[in-house]
């Protein structure tokens, strides 16, 4: 079976900091949460996978195709940043179908195809609204729908609920879980909270100083806790 994401000795440099070399394989349908302290390299990892940063060495494969040298638009990766980054001059509907516009496809047809996702996320009543009129949780859901509307092979979420209040956080996490159950989209989700990770993922990776400090099944966290000091600190075990 083809892996949805493979990282092969991936290294990314940013100034004096170096992420990697990292290896990772995600099977289709996997949901991996990546945790790490601030400055551990999580955002660099996401940017390298999305093609927004060029790795200094190593290779990235998405859905069995090497994408290391490809521009972001050819990688078939869905990306949801922490800020949601909705286009403020476009309605919610046009935000969601932006990928169709970019590809020169029919936007109305793309919106119709996204109906199941919109129903799960409860976005139908918001389609004509502008991003400025949405709550934080609604904005993240729109960003999620926008990413999924491009039918990506891999979904990358960069701290999607970190800036939200508790009810919105619960609502978005529930939507992520629900969507994953229904669509089975391979997901790499960066966050800071183990509670959030437990709510959505079945695999966990912990990065410390640009290296994997721990990576395994979520259930193994309790049965075989990590030995790496940074990972233990992050999980509150020390």
């Amino acid at each position: 079976m083809t892996a949805a994401l493979t990282l092969e000795q991936l290294c990314v440099r940013a100034g004096s900091f170096c992420l990697g070399p990292l290896d990772l394989t995600l099977a289709a349908g996997d949901y991996l949460v990546v945790m790490g302290a601030t400055g551990a390299g999580k955002s660099l990892l996401i940017k390298a996978i999305c093609g927004l940063l060029r790795p200094s060495s190593g290779r990235v494969w998405v859905d069995g195709r090497e994408v290391t040298g490809l521009p972001p638009r050819e990688r078939r990766v869905g990306y949801v940043p922490q800020s949601a980054a909705l286009f403020p001059h476009l309605s919610v509907a046009r935000n969601i179908t932006f990928g169709a516009w970019a590809a020169g496809r029919d936007e109305a047809a793309a919106l119709a195809q996204s109906a199941p996702v919109l129903a799960v996320l409860g976005l139908e009543p918001l389609l004509e609204r502008r991003p400025a009129t949405l709550s934080g949780g609604e904005r993240q859901k729109v960003a999620l729908a926008r990413a999924l509307c491009t039918t990506p092979r891999l979904l990358v979420l960069d701290e999607p609920v970190s800036a939200l209040d508790e009810p919105s956080r619960r609502s978005v996490c529930a939507a992520l879980r629900d969507l994953h159950v229904r669509i089975g989209m391979t997901t790499l989700h960066v966050c800071h909270s183990l509670e959030e990770a437990r709510a959505v993922a079945h695999r966990l990776g912990i990065i410390a100083a640009g290296q994997w400090a721990w990576c395994g099944a979520m259930a193994a966290i309790d049965s075989a806790p990590p030995a790496h000091p940074a990972a233990r600190r992050l999980l509150g075990l020390d």
């Binding site: 521009p71 940043p81 800020s83 980054a85 286009f87 491009t150």
Partner: protein
Amino acid sequence: MRRRRDVARESAAAMRPVAAAREPLMAACVVVAVLFAAMVLALVGADAWYLIRHGNGPADLLRSLSRPGIRQAVVLSLTTSLCSLALTLATSLPLGYLLSRQRFPGRALLSTLVDVPIVVPPVVIGISLLAFFGSGLGVAVRAGLGRVGLSMVSGLGIVLCQYLVSVPYAIRAAAAAFDEVDRELEAVAMVLGCSRWRAFRGVTLPLARNGLLAGGVMAWARALGVFGPIMAFVGTGPRVQVMPTCVWLELSVGNIDVALTLALVMLGLSGAALALVHALAPGRSWT
């Protein structure tokens, strides 16, 4: 408790302009603001007042403007300034975007060069143009233009002067407008399937539009008032008079009424441009 009341009172005062003006610092600022506004209004009003006092009604002003030489100057000013605006926009968009988005070797030098026409006296630009077209490459360019029937002592030279004076303002305004657009929006657009150009067209340009238009209008108003470089490089021949040079010529022969009428036209155009800038520029308003 008392201190908290004071803070609340100060906050309330900050929100009420009249109350704020009673604070010594704010009162001083308001006095300076009133004096400045009065100075500008007095200068503008003086033109109109002079004309009225000397018995020039609206009909006389229109008659002055309809004189062939004056009408030609107004038309030439408007056409050349619009041509220079087109050139300005064609330069300021790519340069503003480059300065806003990229860090590259020589960026500081480029940024400094952009500011050169702002800091040098305008007449120096005219003299530099004379020097350039008087030797080397400039002579070849002039000869080439001559072969197709074009001369620098024409609208072409005027457009060049206006462009060189006004383009730095538009580049700075464009860079500021692009700076206002979150780079993450472009990154997301590219991951969603856009090329860099399509992300620019679909996201960056619409979001920077008001700032770009405001910069363009400001540059146009600046181009309309260019005087020194045109005097030095193009001269004041009968076919190359624009409003600023016409004002100077009319003044020099004692036609103050005509000069002031033209000055009022330029003030009106500049005022309309400024109103447009305030309406368009992000974060600006009349209140």
